[in-house]
């Protein structure tokens, strides 16, 4: 199994090739964003519909469940939180 190394909130993370960005983030935190009223949220629908897993991938807001982890990608979990 080939491995991919990327960064989640500044921490290096290694996941199997083909893994989703959501899986990579999950190794660091289960809380992907804070809701409008500040409650913790993580991935929910797993299929790109609910937008609870929004993160920044190389600066751009993306859905972590739809995106594949790529070598060297920089992920931050500040996208869906204000």
């Amino acid at each position: 199994m080939n491995l991919v190394t990327l960064t989640v909130d500044g921490r290096p993370v290694t996941v199997p090739e083909g893994a989703s960005v959501a899986a990579a983030v999950a190794t660091v935190t289960g809380v992907f964003r804070r809701s409008v009223r500040g409650t913790p949220r993580g991935p929910y629908c797993g299929m790109g519909q609910c937008f609870e897993c929004e993160v920044r991938i190389d600066g751009r807001i993306s859905l972590a469940c739809l995106a594949r982890a790529t070598p060297g990608a920089i992920i931050t979990t500040d996208a869906g939180t204000l």
Partner: protein, 431 residues
Amino acid sequence: MPEHFDVLILGAGPAGLAAAEILARAGRTVGLVDEQAQPGGQFGRERIRQRPGRSGRKLLEWLQHRNGITYFPGHRVVDCDPHPALVTESTRGSTRLTGGALILAPGARELVLPFPGWTLPGVFCAGGLQALAKSGWPVRGRRIVLAGSGPLLVASAHTLRHEGAEILAIIEQAARGSVARFLAGLPTWPAKALQTLGYLPTWARIPYETGAFVAEALGEERLEAVRIVERGRTRIVPCDLLGTGFGLIPNVEAAARLGCVLTPTPHPSVRVDGLQATSLPGIYAAGEVTGIGGVERAQIEGAIAGYAAVGNLPKARALAPKLAHWARFGEAVNRHFALRDPLRALARPDTVICRCEDVTLGEIDSAGGQGSVKLLTRLGMGPCQGRICLAALAELRPGYGTVTGSQAARPPLFPARLGTLAGEPAPEPHP
């Protein structure tokens, strides 16, 4: 890459792939657009920790080398028009694809029935948890409860167990007799009976409780336990993850935007004729988007749409009996796993219904008599555009069903870069 095709297909799941195959064999050029990174849809999703299965590897190879098919994975359709055209976004920017005809095969999403605690991290849709686990979400050694209704719970448990999770229980809301009648009818569809046999090792090892439901998810920053109600008895079960599945609903947003006629039901589907033709010329729909019925029905509808799009009407019509056979399977699932009313009464006034805007059921109820629920509470006004909450509300408060209104017909179909909507050329990848 070309941008015009004889036929555009939205969705590379069972229906879209079946259509693509027939179109390619008939010598047509096909643009196959799908938002997932791999083909096969939710049903065909492969486990990354496994070597790629023969079927998956063959599928990808086939898509890459099949003359005439251009496959656009990771492309989300953010707008469309009935000419027909699809506006897509991917990590490489935005594209406008046009076609002589369009086959809509965007599949379904999971229906959600909110209950106290359902927004805690660690609570998932059952199929969503299965999909996440297949794509590497860590479940090894985690204690998981699956709850809700239908065969999807068992399929999900099967995958999760193979990924190393400890499945504590499957909590099925349907009555034991109803599940038994469903199983007794399975031999009508031998393929389904076989598939079910494949799940038996999972089923035999996991407590399968019928006539029960999860009434509450407990925890502060994440899920810590669930409260299970079975025939009036309540118990607390500590666990790490909860997957809930209450059935599926069609993804009709693109069809609505195009102006296709939909069914006037709480969860609309696309109206099609015997050739999978929608109310608009040159636009077909196939698979779960025309009504929930499972993978075999979707494949047959995809094939019919493919034949219809190339004008091979005898072949298309010849599939009608097979379609009827599998449509009955979908009906059997829907009938035997019909949701019972207590599930619709779990949400409390302080339970969030709209996850994007944090709108509670109490706020919705008090706005109900005053004016437009959407305008006053901002329900459904977040990035999911009401996909989760408006469908849930159609179950919890059917009287507010009209709040969906014309929303679905407006662009964008998903949140889209303003640059894309302005028709600007693709941006540089990864600034």
